[in-house]
Assembly symmetry: C2
Homo-oligomer: 497 residues x 2
């Protein structure tokens, strides 16, 4: 068991190496660091959590006093709103993660629910910690500097602070239910916080415990610790820029799922026509049932250029109510998207309960086009498989129905389709120079795609390979798979009612 | 008085020139048009409104059946959510306006509240119509194709449709309060809808009244009318691309506010130091009072490069609680932002009630840098003054405290500051080649800035010119103006309690 974090904390031995500095000196220095991280394009995330009425507002104000307000953003996280409850837990936090070169300060954070729920335990606790560790780790590995503070105070200090607040007629409305709960039972909360802090005291994002018995001293400690953390982060960043350690991949390709795809599978026109309509009707009804069951659905389409993703999506959605789904075509990230972690834009567009989002290409670009074109470094795309699995697990745990289709065609078929399109006036817009360039790297793409299919086929988010040479066969298979999975999801939902 | 729109509507004379087409033929044609507008980068907005239970879902499904789901997005507007009620009325609609080349379909829209509120009248009605006309007109003038449908039905048809819904145990939950209200009093609603339709039957976005007595016929009419509207819109677009009519500006510069700025105004160090702290404390308290009064605040900073905007913002916010404000530095739009109307990104970031957003540069870029660098055509930036006034009026009507500061320095002062910055290691990052280039166009900028100050100084959003040569004087003046305006806003809010 790890050491205690705040249990048996010796307030009187609280050491503050920054006590000889003036607060404003530390603040001015932080302002310089803010400009530096801005120039170096390093994102910084500062989390301030702690007891109720422990002075978060005070230290927060002191922390940012000298900073340039254009370069940082403070976000307050309280109980999730209506809209936030409709989305997976991490959604609202991912949205507010800092852009490169900016500082995000979180007043409370993803620890909010965890700290407030004294009864959380077992799998639920494990999952919450795993979710939090994933977002912190992924930001850290992307170069972010993460600084976490927990504000700690003695029982009698907290009681007197809450009493004071209650007496102040202008501010008594600020006393929350949480204040009341902690006031009533300090020890129980102390034990709970200690447990949570231990579980989330990660190497890449350790906690700084700050005594706020003396607010001014606490402010200095927070400023000083932030300076130290940023200094370390800049060193790490420069190391990363210089290549860091030589990166050695562990992956040994054994299975190659795309070697065994039976492209001869096909349907006659008669079979296709006779099945299509009724499958579409069923898909439409199931989409509605997913809506009434408030099950969010995410469908990913990947595959070669010209493999028929668009056509398959069109057939799948044809009899679905358009008010319930959205198709998002994913192209290269724009400037804003590039200034964030690559998962940021995808987290931003996850569907709310009952809705469906279909991604025409997706986060798998990280381990396909970005890998092959060198937009991501080896270490970056090699760790992306885990990051992607984490994200998909997070969606799954929220109750999302997650379907991933990989449509496969061979090189000859692609050539025929490219040439065919160039002769069809209404399809010529679909062929770009980039498509021809990608084609030259066919073998590299096959290699990358095989790895995707092996490393990201999980129990909660398996891939379905679609034999794409016969478009009719492909479209029917997509429809059938959707129908099967949707039925299963609805049956599971009914069971748990 | 304009002609009746739906009062005395002769259902039996409902003409449908598209009745001889198959629905799927019209749908296929629309799919071709969808690709065409996508290639031409034209945004399309289709609004479907009408009586409750008039078949909006049915025609909507028929409308998009053949379309490529990657190129359009359906948005449903019902009663605003918690988050939406915290923002000005148009916020949620602007967010969903189509990007260039995309089709947005609104199931209900900004007409929702208006149609449902039988008692709306007088100034409130006038303002709502003005708001709606502004968004439709601005999108239209930006090249968007706007198609509006109102679904109409006979009283007995509506009654039987609602009765049917009530009887269906799987769908009876879909009967809304509005259904009940319209069921009870058809005539009153008929008169009200007729009035609203008349008032919003704009030349640039007229209503199409569609009888849904026969649903299939209605679907064809909607598809056909959409095709016609898109055809017309493409013609108009091509005309606009070819330059359209020669554009003649009406503006005659008479006043030149920047000619009379007294740059000798200054403060001694002693005066500055003695005033600054207490003004900042007062500003901090007032920001908190704005928060408790739930007054949203928007502050715009414009001015020459190196005029001291950043420094003034920093002094203004120094003792404000950072959880209540956000500073947004505005740079050139990124790809996503460029694919929308230029006001889109600003509407997206208006503050919610009680919060403050400070724009370091703003929508005024349209009539300054975009004007001078030729990023906007003359007709585009010349109409932007009205568009900006409309937007600011909209914010004002929502109760927003709106402050606009223009910090002025002369050409020599700017040169000194540029040179000074190049010798200060911690400020050199602030000078770019672009700053030097802008400087070469000094006179053009002065001309444009004068026009801004004349044409967008309104009663509800006046400019405050800040004499910027002495930074101390400038910062104190900004603080004092904020304090004065905030006090006034709070006093007004207290009065209306």
């Amino acid at each position: 068991m790890a050491e205690n974090m705040i249990k048996d904390y010796e307030f009187d031995k609280f050491e503050n190496p920054y006590s000889n500095f003036k607060r404003s000196e530390l603040g001015d220095k932080l302002a310089k660091f803010e400009r530096l991280v801005n120039n170096l394009d390093i994102p910084v995330l500062i989390i301030i959590d702690g007891w109720e009425s422990s002075g978060k507002g005070f230290v927060l104000n002191d922390l940012i006093r000298e900073l340039d307000p254009r370069l940082h953003k403070v976000s307050v996280f309280e109980n999730p709103t209506e809209e936030e409850r409709e989305r997976p837990f991490l959604w609202r936090f991912w949205k507010k993660t800092p852009a490169k070169g900016n500082i995000a300060v979180f007043d409370r954070s993803f620890y909010f629910n965890l700290m407030n729920d004294l009864n959380i335990d077992g799998d639920e606790l494990k999952q919450a910690i795993a979710d939090i560790s994933s977002i912190e780790k992924e930001l850290y590995e992307d170069g972010a500097i993460i600084v976490k503070f927990f504000l700690h105070q003695k029982e009698k200090t907290q009681k007197s602070r809450i009493d004071e607040l209650r007496k102040d007629k202008h501010r008594s409305f600020l006393v929350t239910d949480e204040d009341e709960a902690q006031y009533k039972d300090y020890d129980k909360h102390l034990a709970h916080f200690d447990k949570i802090l231990k579980l989330s005291n990660f190497d890449y994002s350790p906690w700084n415990i700050i005594s706020t018995e003396d607010m001014k001293s606490a402010s200095k400690k927070i400023l000083g610790s932030t300076l130290d953390a940023i200094q370390d982060g800049i060193d790490r960043y420069i190391g990363m820029q210089n290549g860091g350690m030589r990166y050695i991949r562990q992956y040994i390709p054994e299975k190659r799922p795309l070697s065994n795809v039976d492209l001869s599978l096909s349907l006659s026109n008669e079979q296709y026509v006779s099945e299509l309509k009724s499958l579409q009707e069923e898909a439409g009804k199931l989409a509605y049932a997913l809506y009434t069951h408030r099950i969010p659905t995410v469908i990913v389409f990947e595959g070669m250029d010209a493999s028929g993703k668009g056509g398959a999506i069109k057939r799948l959605t044809r009899l679905m109510d358009p008010r319930g789904y959205e198709v998002i075509p994913i192209a290269a990230p724009d400037k804003t998207e590039k200034s964030h972690h690559y998962l940021w834009r995808f987290f931003n567009s996850v569907p709310k309960r009952g809705n469906m989002t279909i991604f025409d290409r997706s986060w798998y670009g990280r381990v396909m086009v970005e890998r092959i074109e060198g937009f991501a470094k080896i270490s970056e795309w090699d760790r992306a498989y885990d990051e992607i699995n984490n994200m998909e697990k997070h969606l799954h745990n929220f109750g999302t129905l997650l379907l991933k289709f990989f449509i496969y065609i061979d090189k000859n078929e692609q050539l025929e389709r490219f040439e065919g399109r160039e002769h069809k006036s209404d399809k010529i817009y679909k062929i770009t120079d980039e498509d021809w360039r990608n084609r030259e790297k066919w073998d590299e793409y096959i290699e990358a795609m095989n790895e995707v299919l092996v490393r990201t086929s999980t129990e909660y988010a398996p891939w379905t390979i679609i034999e794409g040479k016969d478009k009719k066969y492909a479209r029917i298979k997509v429809l059938k798979q959707f129908i099967e999975s949707a039925k299963e999801a609805i049956a599971n939902a009914n069971k748990s009612l």
